[in-house]
């Protein structure tokens, strides 16, 4: 068993990773509540955004333009998907809506493989200016990107929480989570509220993609399927509570990284989100209702 000393740096990196998972998880929960769609292409749009940013920066464009392009791409693609397929699938089962986003995932995944081929063994990286400087806590080196990861996670969770509670649009989204038809009857512009949710979720996907490209790796496959890890956090919160999503994401990130120095478990650390989500779901679903008009656990 490694000593406490060995674990310390992994707490820091785990918190940063957890922060980004929280950002992604919260984005997915909000979209699910507002539209009933589990957005499984979250990772893919972020990954493609990050790759676009990489290409732009390599072409000599200033960094911030690349980052903006990443976020804008993710936002626009997500909004576009939501506008085209949202209404078309609005009355279908949540499962169908989720599987349809897998279609978008495959399209983006194929495009990424086609445009940014990895066959040449080319490795890409996005470096944010926050990588190079940092500070020490005790004996642990902390860089500003890690602070940014956790900070953005916290800020988004608090910000979205406040937005849902205090703004008109947020209230409308919460109403839609209750019942879309009744909300529409009450005069809420349902389509516009959904569009806002799609756009917001897409922007978060872009931010998450950029941060994960820096913190983990700029690789289409990795980034596309990291969404499953952040989805684990959202699932633990039963796609309902953003506070719980945040806590679960931090736990997933920290446990994942804390397993790194443990010799016997380090190869299995990528299982963390899956195992935690599976156990949580199974425990939470013990009391199951047979007849319910809505897709609830």
């Amino acid at each position: 068993m490694p000593s406490w000393q060995d674990f310390q740096p992994f707490i820091v990196s785990g918190l940063a990773l957890g922060g980004v998972y929280a950002l992604s998880g919260v984005g997915m929960v909000v979209l699910y509540q507002a539209t009933g769609v589990v957005y499984l292409a979250f990772g893919a749009v972020g990954a493609m955004g990050a790759l676009i940013a990489w290409s732009l920066i390599n072409a000599g464009v200033p960094g911030w333009v690349g980052w903006l392009a990443c976020v804008a791409f993710a936002g626009v693609v997500t909004l576009g998907y939501g506008m085209v397929f949202g209404p078309a699938l609005a009355k279908r089962d949540p499962l169908i809506k989720a599987v349809a986003t897998l279609g978008l995932t495959l399209v983006l995944f194929g495009l990424m493989d086609l445009l940014w081929t990895t066959s040449g063994g080319e490795s890409r990286a996005i470096t944010l200016p926050t990588d190079n400087s940092g500070f020490m806590i005790g004996q642990v080196q902390v860089n500003w990107t890690q602070v940014l990861g956790l900070g953005v996670g916290v800020a988004i969770t608090v910000g979205i929480g406040a937005f849902l509670r205090y703004t008109k649009l947020g209230t409308a989204m919460r109403a839609m989570a209750g019942d879309r038809e009744i909300t529409a009857t009450l005069g809420v512009p349902v389509r516009r509220v959904e569009a806002a949710a799609w756009l917001g979720c897409g922007v978060l996907a872009g931010v998450a993609g950029l941060l994960l490209a820096d913190l983990v790796a700029l690789d289409a496959t990795t980034l596309t399927f990291l969404v499953i890890s952040s989805l684990a956090a959202a699932l633990i919160a039963r796609l309902r509570s953003i506070t719980l999503t945040f806590v679960a994401a931090i736990v997933v990130g920290v446990v994942h990284d804390l397993l790194t120095p443990v010799q016997s478990l380090t190869n299995y650390r990528d299982m963390t989100p899956f195992v935690l989500a599976a156990v949580a779901l199974l425990v939470l679903s013990r009391r199951r209702v047979m007849t319910s008009s809505r897709e609830e656990m």
């Binding site: 089962d93 599987v99 349809a100 897998l102 279609g103 495959l106 995944f109 299982m271 899956f274 599976a278």
Partner: protein, 358 residues
């Protein structure tokens, strides 16, 4: 085989196993001729490259069959079938290295062990429904992929895992004695696949098939009608896992060497995509799905087109199927052909108003 769909839909009380009518007999005849063509003529006509590709089609038609039964018949969406296939392939490879049992027996054992594994994993997961079940299977597939990447596939080493990391001369996974060559192994794979389709068809035409149809329509209603929904859902899972496990066993012999990178999580997603595109409500859909999944990449590779286009196509296909054609190609193509036929007949009538066909 198409009337299986009608029987399983439970619309008419029929006893198809007792008295086959002429339509059923005709269909059986057509399938028999088709099967004979695939078994005897196809290996002669195709180059070795396409024989290999068609062997993969035979293997994956079993995988898509299992998933098709789950998705189309029972309404359970699994996003982890490639992980199940990997379990089957692992078990078969381990048994083939460790013993000198006849190959069909190994296939049976691989199927049974995969079935047990699938049921042990699936029993708790079956408490969940719809979306949550799909997502948890995705999680479990991710977990199994991680384990496989560490454990590796057996390569003739010792111990329970049978993996020797420093082995230089890795022995190939053996094939059955009568099917050592590629064309012979292709025939073997087709025969196994045909047996699996028969197994599934028998299930769909008898009591479990009707129970599944009821569950797919409405689980509470099925329960009210006295159907043990948990038993039949578990049964479906067991059947799908068994078939997929057998497919894994056939795959092991087909490729000779197995690597964990050949079973990535994203393939489970592609698998669901092609099953939906092929058509989950018909057994033909499984064949179409397997052709899409394995023959199309081989063709594209031969023409020098990147397989990424296929991924894009599958993505668009899923979106198209879910929005406009829920029964997939197996349903859409005959309908479109019929429409085309009507169109041509109308055209013929217009061109020759006096002497056109009725």
């Amino acid at each position: 085989m198409l009337d299986v769909a009608e029987a399983a839909a439970g619309a008419r009380p029929r006893w198809p196993l007792r008295r086959p009518d002429t339509r059923t007999l005709t269909r059986a005849g057509v399938i028999g001729v088709l099967l004979a063509f695939v078994l005897f003529a196809l290996p002669q006509l195709l180059s070795l490259y396409y024989v290999d590709a068609m062997t993969q089609v035979a293997v994956y038609s079993m995988v898509t069959l299992g998933l098709g039964v789950l998705v189309g018949r029972v309404g359970l969406v699994s996003l982890g079938q490639v992980a199940v296939l990997a379990i089957g392939a692992w078990t078969a490879a381990r048994l083939l290295f460790a013993t000198s049992m006849p190959y069909p027996l190994v296939l049976l054992e691989a199927g049974v062990i995969t079935m047990v594994a699938g049921m042990v994993i699936g029993l708790p997961a079956l408490r969940l429904r719809g979306l949550y079940l799909a997502l948890i299977t995705l999680m479990l597939a991710g977990a199994i992929t991680v384990v496989l990447a560490t454990v590796n596939f057996p390569n003739g080493g010792h111990g329970f895992l049978g993996y020797n990391g420093s082995s230089v001369h890795i022995p190939p996974i053996r094939r059955p004695g009568i099917a050592a060559s590629d064309p012979a192994y292709f025939r073997f794979a087709v025969v196994v696949a045909a047996l699996m389709f028969l197994l599934a068809a028998v299930h769909l035409r008898t009591r479990p098939g009707r129970a599944w149809a009821a569950i797919r329509q409405s689980e509470p209603a099925a329960l009210a009608a006295g159907i043990n929904t948990t038993l039949y859902k578990l049964w479906a899972l067991a059947l799908a896992s068994f078939i997929t496990g057998v497919a894994g066993g056939v795959l092991a012999g087909a490729v000779h060497y197995l690597y964990s990178i050949d079973f990535p999580t994203q393939d489970s997603i592609t698998l669901l995509a092609v099953v939906l595109m092929g058509g989950a409500y018909s057994l033909w859909g499984a064949v179409i799905a397997a052709l899409l999944l394995q023959l199309l990449p081989a063709l594209l590779n031969n023409w020098g087109v990147s397989a990424d286009w296929l991924t894009i196509l599958f993505g668009l296909g899923v979106l198209q199927v879910l929005t406009t054609a829920p029964a997939g190609l197996a349903d859409q193509v005959p309908k479109d052909l019929a429409r085309l036929g009507r169109l041509l007949r109308a055209l013929a009538r217009r061109l020759a108003p006096s002497g056109g066909p009725e």
